[in-house]
């Protein structure tokens, strides 16, 4: 079997370092703005927590019957860090085995984790925005409050902007490196 190039080896280290930022910075942020919140409100999603103005957002959402957000309600905050941790460990295995095929599998795994995370996030957002308390004081016919997966959306008096935060960008960067190096390794192997 073919060995990984030096660039490929370096990329493994880089990807692990990039993913390690998930424990230092938030990965996603949802910013909200309304006239009476000139400074804006912000919810910061970490790999293992949700921080920022969560209490205030919870307080506001009760008018329209949305569920309150609590850290303990998210199994993701346990299995996501574990998954990423294992993935980083597998990176070291890839490095030790020094086989191109190992690198390819590692990239596929990353793609799977990434797609699953987004699917999971979307599913949560959907439930969060659609599962409304029928006894809510304010009911707007036909209105649901699903935050945007990525980008901007106007929800009643709030403008909502959803985007990656620092660690999220590193995560995306890790994906770009993995895909790029995979292509690079593949080409090298064909060239030989």
């Amino acid at each position: 079997m073919k060995k990984i190039t030096n660039a490929g080896k370096a990329s493994v280290i880089l990807v692990i370092l990039f993913l390690a930022t998930l424990w230092v910075f938030p990965m996603w942020r949802i910013d909200l703005r309304a006239p009476q919140y000139p400074g804006g409100l912000s919810m910061k999603i970490w790999i293992n927590d949700v921080k920022g103005d969560v209490d205030i957002i919870n307080g506001l959402n009760h008018y329209i019957g949305m569920n309150t957000i609590h850290k303990k309600d998210f199994p993701e905050f346990v299995f996501l860090p574990d998954t990423i941790m294992i993935f980083m460990g597998l990176g070291l295995v890839v490095l030790l085995l020094n086989k191109k095929v190992g690198y390819y599998i590692w990239t596929l795994l990353f793609a799977f984790i990434g797609i699953f995370s987004f699917y999971d996030f979307y599913k949560w957002e959907y439930n969060y925005g659609h599962n409304l308390d029928p006894a809510a004081p304010i009911k707007v016919p036909g209105m649901s409050y699903q935050p945007p997966l990525f980008g901007y959306k106007k929800l009643l008096n709030f403008e909502v902007l959803s985007q990656p935060d620092i660690a999220g960008w590193f995560y995306i960067g890790a994906g770009v490196i993995l895909v790029g190096i995979t292509i690079y390794e593949w080409r090298k192997s064909i060239a030989k």
Binding site: D53, D55, I56, G59, H62, Y63, P137, I138
Partner: protein
């Protein structure tokens, strides 16, 4: 016919003649004044301007240069608007040895200083009628301490502070016998005294204590200021009525050509106090403090005060003759010049600190006043500002070596130079100006941008409002050679004196809400699950929470006529600008305005049977109107069980 025409013509001519008119007092406002005071919507003012409320008893806060009212801080008067003086937590702030007093006359303000510069920590305020000094915390804009002053009356020369806020002073305007002795009023000369109290201020907590009182002969101490730089160790009080009149002061206290500036070496006084030269005198006075953690005010009645007699403490007090009935002693930013403003004098004497020191060294005394050495006028004098105007009252300073003196009688501000005492400019005020204020103008570091004149009379300046008219403030631009009037704005109560500091000094350290986790109020409800109603005899304690948009509990039954109901309302919000109000129908207490994370208590006497709605009085949310509840008060002895809750709806059968 011709004659008739001629006569008619003459009448018409006379009628068309304008009668001669006095020059009107219309102000000439420069073309760009509007631009200079316009603070666009959403923009902040450059300065906070704290203004005394006079007979309102409160302190008001304005923005400069816009003159917009930002807040009324309740200090010495009850304030139904937010329950100050009515809620169980704040009642004690107004306690005195004569019980709670709902009002006072608030004259002067002083911002705390470090190294002679404003440090943005506290604001001190005096009460003139029932002598007290208050401390306001500038993180919360709340009155957190009020100290009563014994052996005094008319606490006018207060609350001026030394350069590091080591002391805040309180001086007697209406001399009284010490220890409230029962003596004939006519024994004034023998028995009446004025005292200069030095209140120490803890440099970390701000906590106040009367360190010592200097006992001075019976006379009227007036405004004072601490020395600066070279004169750091000294305090200068002006005084009037050295004639020692006790009736018809208007005439009898205005006889002498000169009264005094009393120079007190407070460092020396401090040493004498430490060395045991004073004596402890029994005196009762209330000391009220607001505890931030329990969110409750409490009163301690202090029992004694340390008194220093100048007779036992040589070299501590000197008198400097000053024409005539001076209203104040103002010290320039360098600490070298002391300006006496004799309100009945036709000139402004300026004393030199270095000359005073030399005169003391050379013993250039012209005699003594009850044993206190009187320095020769000329020996202390730097010079006199000649013909400044009528009724010089108060002087503030800029950062370019100029002084600004208000002229009460001639209603004007006069700008003059400290070095050669030359009058440089004068502008009218509308009308009868009292104090002036330059931001930092009584510190080592004045601003040279604005001056505010605080006026007593406004007559034709605003739309008339019946017999009682507002008093006012006027903003002047003093950045150029000529002073320019920019703006008039009405004030609350009587604006005696003000302080102003750059907004940047305090705006970013404002407390936005109280951390509910740190709420140590004994009646706090930490969450809705902790709410309850507890009966102890005829006392009923309602532990209630408020959060948008409901109160828990909002149905209360089992209260009987004759019960005392205490509503302890905790605002569970943890966000800025989400207060909840609370009021109960027919309650004789004022409403509560509860900040996020705070607990306040309203006592309601259940003295009549009925259903009493209660509700949130501060529009808090889209469902504010729904934020209400009911208390049922049953007849005395009724057998209604105690029952409370929120969101419990009875089954149809039970509702009869």
């Amino acid at each position: 016919m011709n004659k008739l025409l001629l006569m008619l013509g003459a009448v018409a001519l006379i009628a068309s003649l304008q009668s001669c008119k006095m020059k009107s007092a219309d102000s000439a406002v420069a073309g760009d004044a509007a631009q200079k005071v316009y603070v666009a919507p959403g923009k902040y003012d450059e300065y906070y301007n704290f203004v005394s409320g006079g007979f309102s008893g409160q302190v008001t806060v304005y923005g400069l240069p816009s003159g917009r009212l930002l807040k009324v801080i309740p200090v010495f008067s009850v304030f139904p608007e937010n329950g100050y003086g009515y809620s169980e937590e704040t009642k004690a702030m107004l306690n005195t040895t004569n019980g709670p007093i709902p009002w006072d006359d608030q004259h002067h303000l002083e911002l705390s200083q470090t190294n002679g510069k404003q440090d943005g920590r506290w604001l001190f305020a005096n009460a003139n009628n029932t002598p007290r000094v208050a401390r306001i915390d500038l993180n919360t804009f709340k009155t957190t301490e009020i100290l009563q002053i014994p052996n005094s009356a008319g606490n006018h020369s207060s609350p001026f502070a030394t350069e590091n806020t080591e002391y805040v002073v309180a001086g007697t305007r209406f001399s009284v016998p010490l220890g409230d002795a029962d003596v004939p009023i006519s024994s004034f000369k023998k028995n009446f005294k004025s005292t200069a109290s030095f209140i120490s201020v803890d440099k970390n907590t701000g906590h106040m204590n009367i360190a010592f009182q200097i006992v001075l002969p019976g006379m009227n101490l007036d405004l004072s200021h601490a020395g600066k730089g070279p004169s750091h160790d000294w305090f200068f009080f002006s005084c009037y009525n050295t004639e020692q009149a006790y009736t018809l002061l208007e005439v009898n206290a205005s006889q002498k050509d000169k009264d005094f500036i009393v120079a007190v070496n407070w460092k020396k006084a401090e040493e004498y106090a430490k060395a045991g030269k004073g004596h402890k005198m029994a005196a009762t006075y209330a000391h009220n403090t607001f505890d931030e953690s329990t969110q409750k005010a409490s009163t301690v009645i202090e029992k004694e005060v340390l008194v220093l007699d100048p007779k036992d403490c040589p070299d501590m007090v000197y008198m400097i003759p000053c024409p005539k009935s001076p209203h104040g002693a103002d010290v320039d930013p360098t600490g070298e010049y002391i300006v006496g403003s004799g309100k009945l004098a036709a000139l402004i004497p300026v004393f030199s600190f270095s000359k005073i020191m030399k005169a003391i060294q050379d013993k250039q005394f012209e005699g003594d006043f009850y044993g206190i050495p009187v320095i020769k006028y000329e020996a202390a004098l730097h010079g006199e500002v000649k013909k400044p105007g009528l009724g010089p009252l108060h002087t503030e300073f800029d950062n370019k070596g100029n002084a600004y003196t208000s002229m009460f009688l001639s209603s004007e501000v006069v700008k003059w130079r400290l070095s050669d005492l030359e009058v440089l400019d004068r502008v009218p005020t509308y009308y009868s100006v009292g104090h002036l204020m330059v931001p930092g103008g009584d510190t080592r570091d004045p601003s040279g941008k604005y001056l505010v004149a605080y006026n007593k009379i406004t007559k034709d300046r605003y739309l008339p409002t019946g017999p009682e008219l507002c008093q006012s403030a006027q903003l002047y631009d003093i950045s150029g050679d000529k002073m320019k009037l920019l703006l008039d704005f009405p004030t609350i109560g009587e604006p005696h004196y003000g302080q102003a500091c750059l907004a940047s000094l305090i705006k970013d350290k404002q407390v936005k809400f109280y951390d509910i986790a740190k709420n140590k109020n004994e009646f706090v409800s930490m969450g809705e699950k902790q709410t309850k109603v507890v009966r102890t005899g005829n006392r009923v304690d309602v532990y209630m929470t408020a959060i948008r948009s409901h109160l828990v509990p909002d149905n209360i039954e089992g209260v009987n006529v004759g019960d005392e109901v205490y509503f302890h309302v905790t605002n569970l919000e943890q966000d800025w600008d989400v207060p909840h109000g609370f009021a109960v129908k027919n309650s004789t207490a004022a409403d509560l305005l509860i900040m996020p994370g705070e607990t306040l208590t309203m006592k309601v006497d259940a003295n009549k049977q009925g259903i009493y709605p209660f509700y949130c009085t501060d529009f808090c949310s889209a469902l504010h109107q729904e934020m209400s509840g009911y208390m049922r008060v049953s007849p005395k002895g009724a057998n209604v069980p105690l029952k409370y809750g929120t969101g419990v709806v009875a089954a149809d059968a039970a509702t009869k």
